[in-house]
Amino acid sequence: MPYTPITSLPTAPDRTQPSTFSTRADALVAALSTFVTETNAAGTYIDGVGTEVDADATAAATSAAEAAASATAAASEASAWVSGASYAVGDVVWSSVDYGTYRAKTTHSGETTDPSSDTTNWALVVANDLAAFGITASAAELNTLDGFAGSTDNLNATQYLSGRNLIINGSGRINQRSYTSGTATSGANGYTLDRWRVVTSGQNLTFTGTDAGRTMTAPASGVEQEIEGANIVGGTYTISFTGTATCTVDGVTKTSGDTVTLTANTNSTVRFTSGTFTDVQLEPGNVATPFEMRSIGEELALCQRYYLSGTIYGWSYAGGAVAVRASLERFGITMRVTPSIAFSAVNYENCSNIFVDGSPQLRGFGVKVDASAIGTITVNAAYTADAEL
């Protein structure tokens, strides 16, 4: 029923206008009866609207309850699938084969294939086990992955952390000594490519390749690398390499992939004899992982803990024929122990006899020369600092 507006009342009488006062007063009183009737009609209208609102609210609540009941039924109260029955899109059933819950993807009838095997007409909603979602790992395997505690048959994720290889320069990329392949060493344990020393004087290391990686060939008495004990925490380690050489770890013959037990904080030696070798890796655990290819800068820095080279450009003023400080050399890293310093390719001007001022230090050394006379002196030289094992 549409709302009917209340009729406006006549103009009210005014005592300042006596000529119209009576007429207006009579008209206003006469209109009051109609006003009462129309006011009551408006009240009835408002009351009716309120009743309709109440009815709509009740209906909405009923619909919500029915929807919730329908959702519950679909999710947890699905009926058992019946072979050959008719189903509409959205219908939910459970399978007596795998007890999973399925929702119809198509409207169909007469199908005799169980929903668990009928991906054309049914989609899995709730599975009875993880396999239905394509996860085939066992509970034990899932726990293994969760705890990163793999066996020899499983992924051992901790071994893929960087910095796991105790061998430095395992592919022979660093050659600070500019060692020429095949050069005979002049003493026992003569160093060649960084960190690799030839055991017997007069034998040599040969190699092919570039700074991107080299294949080395060990002589009969061997080439070896001594690992600093401070880097060994102890326990089971795995040795791996590529090549034909015979490998020993602390004197025990090992093939690539073998394990070895190392003692904490004790030096260990890996030696190769009579054959080729490269990509040498000695890592914690009992699984040989792919060779850890460090950046060339990182590999060089690791080598420089044991050996480094540099150039001196010294200058000073001498008050006479006396020893004067010509230069102060600082290393970029701290060496393993106080190094031995050797000079080469020395060029003097008004001086001679270059020598280390005081003792070499872990991070550098001072350079002095004997000045010839009063005046400016200069000295240029190459140097090496050796803190090898």
Binding site: G187, N189, S201, I341, F355, V356, G358, S359, D386
Partner: protein, 57 residues
């Protein structure tokens, strides 16, 4: 390693022994008096064995 000569070097400020100037495997070098240094170890082994005498500075 083959040591063909060894001589102490004095610090020019304190006049105390600060290193050893040695020729090892044909290379002249200044070896610190550091027990962990492999050249120093070889020099002292040779001295202890009576095979080497380190000359005064």
């Amino acid at each position: 390693m083959n040591i063909t000569s060894a001589q102490y070097v004095n610090d020019t400020f304190t006049n105390e022994i600060s290193s050893i100037k040695a020729t090892i495997d044909g290379v002249e070098m200044f070896v610190p008096l550091a027990p962990g240094n492999r050249h120093y170890q070889v020099i002292m082994e040779a001295v202890d064995a009576g095979e080497l005498t380190i000359e005064d500075a």
